[in-house]
Amino acid sequence: MALKSQVVLKDILKTYFGSLKAPIAWCTSVGPAEILRALGFEVYFPENHGALLGASRLAGKYIPKAHQAGFSGEICSYLTADIGAWIAGETPLTALYGLKSIPHPDLIVFNTNQCREVDEWFSYFGREFDCPVVGVYPPRYLEEIGQHDIDNVVVQFQKVIAVGEKVIGKKLDYERLKEVLRLSRDGSRLWKKVLDTAQKKPSPLTFFDGVILMAPIVILRGTQTCIDFYEEALEELTALVDQKFGAVPDEQVRIYWEGMPIWGRLRSMSELFINNQATIVASTYCNSWIFDDFDPEQPLASMARAYTQIFINRGEETKLAMMRQMLDEFNIDGVIFHDCKTCFNNTNSRFGLPKRIREEVGVDTLSIDGDLNDLRFFSDGQSRTRLETFIEQLKAKKQDAGRKSNV
């Protein structure tokens, strides 16, 4: 069943893309978009465009064009798809929203809290558009986050502000920044509540709903539109919980998805899980846009903390602790790690985490090979065999545990 919120979302996205008029700033999806909004920029997110190219299965057409331009096939396929589409002079935004091209930037800002590829990606476009590019380079892979780490990022945010003020020709209104940050915080809290409805059994939503519903918290964070959307979505999902509606009929096992979505296979993967009575109820990915620490009274410091302490930017011990909590809260039977060929940073199966989850948390794990956008790295048959076996393995263990508890 399609959620009503997903229908509403189509109009919201149409309005958003229609509103992207100069001055426009580009920003990474977990970057300081609040600063740019408070300065008066419309904000556009190339990663969202990358995901759109993947979900529309156009990435395969454009990635080779980026290879021809010198970008390796083993680096971020958001980057290669996006740059390839630019070289081709095409975008799915034309067919979807009537845009002639991707919005041209007046300022480009990125944060390497997720990966270094964004530096190369956004800098390429800085050269293409002859436009200022400001990078924020926070300390990476932290276990603890100290005051010096926060101070480091705050100084870099101040540079973003200085360049932004120069481009837009006015000073940042800090009261406006506080207001934008409040809107961001409230939107983020509502997004968390939306995701937390999946803690119920059966879950009213799956990961495959989540990756659609998350659009406003990425591209409209810091706006009232974002808040209004999640209030409605939460109301709808709460009603579904009350009706004991399960997004997957006869939900038998509950799964956590670690890593990037496989954008070009959302539908077939969703059907596979439905057919096997398994629900992906939680994910690192969707939860990456929950920013509990936004504090309008300390806008820069709290943003520095929130954007630096995201899962992907943490050390292995902290990642394990964060996952342990999620697995417990969502009553998870098994974890699927997506070993994403071109996204090293959003792949967490390569340093022994699956084994530690199995042995230290007692939850079964599976790793599957794939990619966020480049489907040459994904095998439908191989993945299906792994996934169906894993789900069957989880079901058998639950049945066995049920039998033992009845003795």
Partner: protein, 261 residues
């Protein structure tokens, strides 16, 4: 006496539609194997499958059918299970202990920790690359001008430790070409191919302390792999009887057990 009366009653069919071969196993209501047959999966003689099914239908009163293997969805039986689930069930029909199963198939290698009841405890498969599988051996042997049927015998005569380094099947063929230019004996080439496969398997996470049972089509034709694996892994390793039919047997067993629930 009618045709129906001649049939053996209460039987269960497992069909393993593998990447290279399709295997059929029929078991009786006590699990005894009553029939087994293998045909090429993509034979030009497409009616082979139907002929087998006709023969099975003529001789056995099939209560339930389970299909498995990569082509499991192409046959609409009563149930479909992955080949890992069926390999675990098939080996467990022969040995009812906690064990590891290594299934070397046409396009992949599967390592399965299997409990005494045949349930999968955990499993691991090679990544997308088919190096070390049946398809790999076929390709490399062709380049080495080795008949598949004589590889095992040649390899047993060699003590060479030379092995293929490349993961890529195409590049591995280039390595073989280099060996031939250098005049490497055919015995060493045969052993080298096996060593590279064993090296690949030995690097996979095989559960420690469990007896290992080998199954799949590859081990049927290349039993020397067992000896090399035993050297490398140093666990007790046994080739199950009729290793090529184990997955189909597991499918038949699962359909038999599902009927008794």
């Amino acid at each position: 006496m009618s045709e129906t009366d001649k049939k053996i009653a209460d039987c269960y069919l497992g069909i393993d539609l593998g990447s290279s071969y399709t295997k059929f196993v029929v078991v009786g209501n006590d699990g005894t194997i009553l029939f087994k047959e293998v045909i090429a999966t993509l034979s030009r003689k497409r009616d082979q499958f139907e002929k087998n099914m006709d023969e099975i239908a003529r001789r056995f009163d099939i209560q339930k059918t389970c299909s498995t293997g990569y082509g499991r969805d192409s046959y609409s039986g009563d149930m479909q299970k992955t080949e890992l689930i069926c390999a675990s069930a098939g080996v467990s029909a022969i040995v009812d202990c906690h064990k590891s199963v290594i299934d070397i198939g046409g396009e992949d290698i599967k390592i399965i920790e299997s409990d005494p009841n045949g349930s999968v405890v955990q499993f691991y498969m090679n990544d997308k690359c088919s190096a070390g599988t049946g398809a790999f051996i076929t390709e490399i042997a062709e380049k080495a001008e080795l008949e598949i049927g004589e590889m095992d015998e040649f390899a047993r005569r060699s003590n060479s430790e030379r092995m293929i380094n490349s993961f890529c099947t195409v590049f591995a063929k280039t390595e073989i070409l280099g060996w031939k230019f250098k005049g490497v004996p055919i015995e060493d080439i045969a052993r080298g191919i096996y060593l590279s496969i064993v090296d690949r398997i030995a690097k996979m996470p095989i559960p420690g302390g469990l007896d290992i049972y080998l199954c799949g089509g590859v081990i049927r034709f290349h039993p020397y792999l067992r000896d090399l694996l035993a050297e490398k892994i140093a666990e007790k390793i046994t080739i199950v009887p009729d290793p090529q039919f184990i997955v189909a047997l597991g499918a038949a067993e699962l359909s038999r057990k599902s009927n008794s629930h």
